[in-house]
């Protein structure tokens, strides 16, 4: 899943759990604890919804990241060298894109039930849907708010002088907050952060009532409640998909009013408290509304107001025990909030270990050596340089020995699950340093490049990886020997890493059966025996390297040869037949065969049967060479092809023209 979405869901779930806990304890604390405290508790909840701080060991991490390898170390080095450089100076080999490099691409070859495809699709659109949702909710809120303030601006009228004086008096001589009357507002209100102003309904109020109204609104101002309201709005917009957030917002607003009342009345005498509460009732009683307004939530509003009045009546100074308990509660909640966490705010300090194995009994599983990498850890990238993997020293732990299999798997998987999925792997090494023994450990990676070296030279081997849920498969060479595999793995936004390992292809049955590619001639071929070997080698050298990445080469045939010779050279025309075969693959995973199957094509069975059979391809060629001392002068060899569909028109032959890239 996308990292941002994971974080968002972790924050949403974390905040929701905390909110549900507070709803649960509310009956026990509401009458005993300070209203301000109860308001601040909600602010902790709101912060839990938006700040990704948490303890390293947190609950969301367990929920959202349980399926990833978890290495806890304190390494924080920026750059380190994993191996001492060896003197050979060919460090640049790996950096240049070799002929065998694979360009990065989406690969759904082994995705039989399309689950990976749909999963990717969902992840892709989920992020878009969320962003659009945030933009819409934020937009509605801001447009509504600014239209509202604009309407008020044109309909506001100045207050009475006596009201202005009361305000200045309450502000201690300052006039930071402006006061207006407006006949259209249903209740006194405080608006604006930068330019705060109080607007009261254009009704008759006596001095005491004005004072109480202003005390309440100034309390909102002093307590920065408007800022809290903006933050709440932004959090609601971010978590618009979470239904609980709307209930929380309502609760926050109510807690805000109760806390504000408490802030006002704690400085008042009992008689003044009575007047304060009476003012609330009066303002409610005088509130004027257009007749059409729905009154569906009326009883709830009565309950809300009654709650506030009851709090004012029941106000008591808090005892020391309650204050102490309050501190404990707040600390406990902050601790709980951190413990709930927001998922992973750190990552493994380096790329995961990569396991190499083969589909074969008694194959020891090897681990690849980590080379150069760039890895995100604690929100910055660690760049670690290492020597070129071809120069590393590989031990038996880093080597996979195979005899007659033709593919190896590359996986970060917990080996238990590899075992059960692949079947017959024994001798499972214990993964040192990783405490996570859960099944289905998964990092998603793609293989950007694979280079295979034999005797320190880039080997000519098809290395198209095939992905499945456990990792990737790569074909192995058939010729015996030690091969150094160098892979660039891409872990998406986590980073990239180069790994190296050795595949030892043992001398086995496969070698005996190994087909040597040869050129055979028709019995009556006129080409003299002494020229055949040079000719054959030349042709093999043209065709085999060019086609091997795509096909297994089986052999060549020469037929219909017409031969000419004079004092200086030879020239002959012939049909050159290439016998080749697809690298083994389940035909049903090949696009055009899959399509034929889906369309119930009558040719499907034929395509299926033929896919893994040898095929022939014909070339109409002309070969010319000079003869020096009875031998073909190799530097003078030229091969042409006839491009004319009817007549004869020879052009130099270039095998690349026949390969579809």
């Amino acid at each position: 899943m996308n990292e941002s979405l994971k974080l968002l869901l972790a924050l949403s779930l974390s905040g929701s759990i905390l909110a549900i806990f507070i709803f649960a304890i509310k009956p026990f604390i509401s009458h005993k604890f300070s209203k301000s405290l109860q308001y601040y508790i909600w602010i902790i909840v709101l912060l839990r919804f938006i700040l990704p701080f948490s303890f390293d060991e947190n609950i969301m991490d367990k929920i959202f990241y349980k399926d990833e390898i978890h290495v806890n170390t304190n390494i924080e080095v920026e750059t380190k060298s994993l191996e001492l450089p060896v003197e050979t100076g060919s460090n640049s080999t790996i950096l240049s894109k070799g002929e065998n490099s694979l360009s990065k691409k989406e690969n759904y070859d082994m995705d039989h039930d399309h689950s990976r495809y749909f999963n990717d699709l969902l992840n892709k659109y989920a992020l878009t849907i969320w962003i659009v949702g945030v933009a819409v909710v934020l937009g509605i809120n801001l447009i509504g708010y600014f239209r509202f303030t604009n309407y008020l601006k044109v309909t506001n009228i100045p207050p009475l002088d006596v009201e202005k004086n009361i305000l200045i008096d309450l502000m201690g001589g300052k006039d930071k907050v402006k006061l207006f009357r407006n006949q259209f507002v249903p209740t006194p209100m405080l608006i604006g952060i930068i330019n705060p102003h109080i607007i009261i309904p254009d009704n008759k109020y006596n001095e005491k009532q004005i004072k109480n109204i202003l005390l309440h609104e100034l309390a909102h101002y002093k307590r920065f409640d408007i800022i809290i309201k903006w933050i709440t709005m932004i959090i609601t917009s971010i978590h618009w998909f979470n239904p609980l957030i709307y209930i929380i917002r309502k609760e926050v607003n109510h807690a805000c009013e109760l806390a504000c009342d408490e802030f006002v009345i704690k400085k008042l005498k009992p008689l003044e408290r009575q007047e304060y509460g009476d003012t609330l009732i009066t303002v409610v009683a005088e509130a004027k509304y257009p007749i059409g307004v729905l009154q569906a939530t009326m009883s709830e509003d009565k309950k809300g107001l009654k709650d506030r009045l009851a709090s004012i009546m029941g106000y008591k100074k808090k005892t020391k025990v309650i204050i102490a308990l309050s501190i404990v509660l707040v600390i406990g909640l902050i601790f709980g909030a951190m413990k709930l966490g927001a998922g992973r705010t750190y990552s493994d300090p380096k790329p995961p270990e990569i396991y190499i194995g083969a589909k074969e009994e008694d194959t020891k599983i090897g681990t690849a050596i980590l080379g150069t990498y760039s890895w995100r850890y604690k929100n910055h990238y660690i760049e670690a340089d290492a020597i070129d993997p071809i120069e590393m020293e590989y031990g038996s732990d880093n080597t996979v020995t195979i005899s007659d299999v033709n593919e190896i798997f590359i996986s970060i998987q917990n080996l238990e699950s590899v075992n059960s999925n692949i079947g017959t792997i024994n001798d499972i090494p214990i993964h040192k340093g990783s405490s996570n023994s859960k099944a289905n450990i998964k990092y998603n990676f793609t293989i950007d490049n694979v280079y295979v070296y034999k005797d320190e030279k880039l080997a000519d081997i098809s290395i198209e990886p095939i992905y499945n849920d456990e990792g990737a498969y790569i074909l192995t060479p058939t010729e015996s020997g030690n091969y150094v595999y160098v892979m660039d793995l891409n872990f998406g936004d986590r980073g990239t890493a180069t790994y190296g390992f050795v595949v030892n292809v043992a001398q086995g049955e496969s070698d005996e059966e190994k087909e040597i590619v040869t050129v055979t001639f028709e019995d009556d071929s006129e080409l003299p025996e002494e020229y055949r070997e040079v000719f054959s080698t030349h042709m093999i050298n043209i065709f085999v390297p060019a086609y091997t990445p795509y096909y297994q080469m089986k052999g060549f045939k020469v037929s219909d040869l017409r031969y000419y010779e004079d004092d200086t050279g030879i020239e002959f025309e012939f049909i050159f037949t290439m016998i080749h075969q697809n690298y083994y693959k389940d035909p049903d995973t090949v696009d055009y065969i899959k399509e034929a199957k889906e369309n119930n094509s009558e040719y499907y069975q034929q395509m299926y049967d033929e896919y893994n059979q040898p095929q022939e391809g014909n070339y109409y060629l002309k070969f010319t060479a000079n003869i020096v001392n009875g031998q073909i002068d190799e530097s003078s060899i030229q091969v042409f092809t006839n491009v004319s569909p009817v007549g004869v028109e020879y052009v130099p032959f270039n095998v690349e023209d026949y390969i579809l890239h």
């Binding site: 708010y145 249903p186 405080l190 408007i226 709005m233 805000c256 009575q274 307004v293």
Partner: protein, 127 residues
């Protein structure tokens, strides 16, 4: 604010506009004449609108040689109502979440107010 203003529908406003512009009582023939230019309403429709306005008490008829109609809600009163309606709608929507108010914005009826007044008595004791 004149509560009658809220009873005027969109279509009825067209009739009211004629009365407001004329600034005097008008017979139905005059109303019809002006409306025939600005709208394609049938005579019967116009009659219905006028009758409905009378019934609501928004206009008043006086009988002279024919019935003369007079607006009881002024244009200013109606505009105030429109403004109040818009502000109320905006306030009930998102704006409410961004302002700090004294009370919640829902109307309680007289019996609720009475109940709250009886309920709210602060004790004399101050602990």
């Amino acid at each position: 604010m004149n509560p009658l203003a809220s009873k005027i529908t969109e279509a009825e406003v067209e009739v009211m506009k004629i009365l407001w512009e004329a600034e005097e009582e008008l017979p139905i023939a005059e109303i019809r004449k002006t409306l025939s230019i600005t709208s394609d309403w049938e005579d019967s429709t116009i009659k219905t609108l006028v009758r409905r306005l009378c019934k609501k008490g928004v206009i008043k008829s006086t009988k002279r040689e024919v019935l003369y109609y007079k607006a009881l809600v002024s244009e200013d009163e109606y505009n105030d109502y429109i403004t109040a309606d818009v502000i109320d709608r905006l306030y009930s929507g998102s704006a409410k979440n961004l302002v700090a108010t004294l009370i919640d914005n829902k109307r309680l009826d007289d019996s609720d107010i009475e109940e709250l007044r009886n309920f709210f008595k602060v004790g004399e004791k101050d602990e």
